[in-house]
Amino acid sequence: MTRKTDNSLTTDLLRPVLETSTKFYVTVAVLALIVATGFSTWFYQIYWGMGVTGDNWPVYWGLHETNFVFWIGISHAGTLISAILRIVNATWRRPVTRCAEVITAFALMIGAMFPLIHLGRPWLAWWLIPYPSERMLWPNYRSPLVWDFFAINTYLLSSLLFLALPAIPDFALIRDRTTGWRNWFYGKLSMGWQGTPKQWHRLESAMHIMALAIIPIAISVHTIVSFDFSMAVVPMWHSTIFGPYFVVGAIFSGIAALIIVMAVIRKTLHLEKYLQPIHFQNLGKLMLAMSLLWGYFVFNERLVTWYGNTPHEMAALWSTQMGRYSPMFWTMIFCNFILPFPLLTIRKLRSITTAVIASCGVVIGMWLERFLIIVPSLSYKGTPYSWGTYMPRWPELVIFGSSFAAMALLYLLFSKFIPIISIWEMKVGEHPQIKVAAKVQEAEAAGDLV
């Protein structure tokens, strides 16, 4: 059996990198303007103090913390899913992995910004870093915020390496196909990659080991984010299920974000040939499983609170079920459970469009879930004397909106400089033996094999 080189694959996947349209510059300009607005608002908040936000006694954690947990959750789309699919050697993962890993890198960066924004005085953030200080200050390792510092940075560094290493052969590909500054730039990035069998084996070994290491790191990151809450004796926070509950929610929202991003780049970068319905269908199945798990955890969380029947916990619980926050709660249930369930289970309804609709619902629902975990519990702490309410103000809303623009801008710029689908991994998928295995897997996924 012979294998012909598929140059059209390389040309297709390099087109977004090598050709730039006016639309690209316009989109970058618009997104950059929104991001600049977000930064200006942050400076406004720094200048006038945290009083310009809705954070006030007793709810000191509002939209900024909601966004922190939300973006860290979104970051679970990429590296974790990519690592799992790499370990189980799922052949359909090839066009998906890099799209996913990029989400992780940027969502983590954006997520990690929010504690700094919420700090009010971000120039003191380095107090979290352990260093011998003549002021006799030292990070308190008993504090979940210090755990966050270590966990998020470990995940960010590992994810960046996990993203960068398999990009080296693609940099070499661009180096060899370009001239001028691009040849110089990608020559530096490719670090003299030749593609010898030794280099390929080492790269694949490193990716395999890193995939094994990154799965527990990813799980630990969101468990530790959940510790920010569950270590405190606050109604509905002090729970042992918060760790897995947060991890499931993170993977759930992460898959939804990945489906949306894939649909957008499929359309805008004309990658219909590579991001096929089967990819959306498989990710949709994973999302459905996560929806069911998430539903169980929501039920579990409420059941335990109801069974305990302590007055302040019941006040927080009823505020979400029937009180002030109930519209948000029932919207969340609709978005995360009722909407995706028929769209992802009924075969006739399954399509890229319905997967995107379900994913948009899940992203909205999961943001509401983060809000509902944080704000109602803080509104009903301990004694009725300390009960209160929270309403976000415009600086928080502007910064929240601009974080989405930041994500889109970073993703757009990334796809301009690096092929958003790993070319060499796609080529491996073209190998005859792997093609047969992939066809069998696709047939199984479609239910053609019993």
Binding site: M1, T2, R3, K4, T5, D6, N7, T10, P130, M136, L137, W138, N140, Y141, R142, W147, F150, A151, T154, L157, S158, L161, L165, I168, P169, A172, L173, R175, D176, R177, G187, M191, G192, W193, Q194, G195, T196, P197, K198, Q199, W200, H201, R202, L203, E204, S205, A206, I209, M210, A213, I214, P216, I217, S220, I224, W424, K427, V428, H431, Q433
Partner: protein
């Protein structure tokens, strides 16, 4: 440096060329193979598989674990805070930081092993052809002793050889 190489459009032809070079008495170490994708399912692409990378990852993880333990326990003792009679060194909570640094150590060790063993970053050798990125497979020999035999082995598969 002198070198002779052939560019092959299919892995089967590349395999024939490598077999031909071996038959011509060219030592395995002197045969250069370059491709734009891994060719693990072919014999010529599966050489140099053995690596100590997993052991280095374990070593890196162990170093990370030790660093995590020392960072937390030693510094907690050096800069003690008032704990109201509770332990100064809190290993339960320190385990989180120790775990993160252990995993980070394993990841860094894998990456460092990759860079060292794959000789990255490095300069592109003279025996390299940009057509590899077009999907062709380069099989060549640097400073061949028996030029005619090498040429014959490579020509047998491709019909053409290039010299540097």
């Amino acid at each position: 440096m002198k070198a002779i190489y052939g560019l092959f459009t299919t892995p089967e032809l590349a395999q024939q060329a490598v077999d031909g070079l071996r038959a011509a008495g060219v030592p395995e170490r002197e045969i250069t193979i370059q491709s734009s994708e891994p060719m693990e399912e072919y014999e010529f692409g599966s050489r140099d598989r053995e690596t100590i990378m997993p052991w280095n990852a374990v070593l890196g993880g162990t170093i990370g674990l030790a660093a995590g333990y020392l960072l937390t326990s030693t510094t907690q003792q050096s800069w003690p805070i008032t704990t109201g009679g509770m332990p100064i060194v809190t290993n339960w909570s320190n385990l989180i930081i120790i775990f993160e640094l252990t995993m980070l150590g394993a990841v860094f060790a894998s990456v460092i092993t990759l860079l060292f063993s794959a000789r990255l970053p490095g300069r592109l050798p003279k025996l390299y052809d940009a057509e590899v990125s077009e999907g062709k497979i380069l099989i060549g020999v640097s400073n061949p002793k028996e030029v005619a035999q090498v040429e014959h082995a490579l020509r047998g598969s491709t019909g053409g050889v290039r010299k540097l």
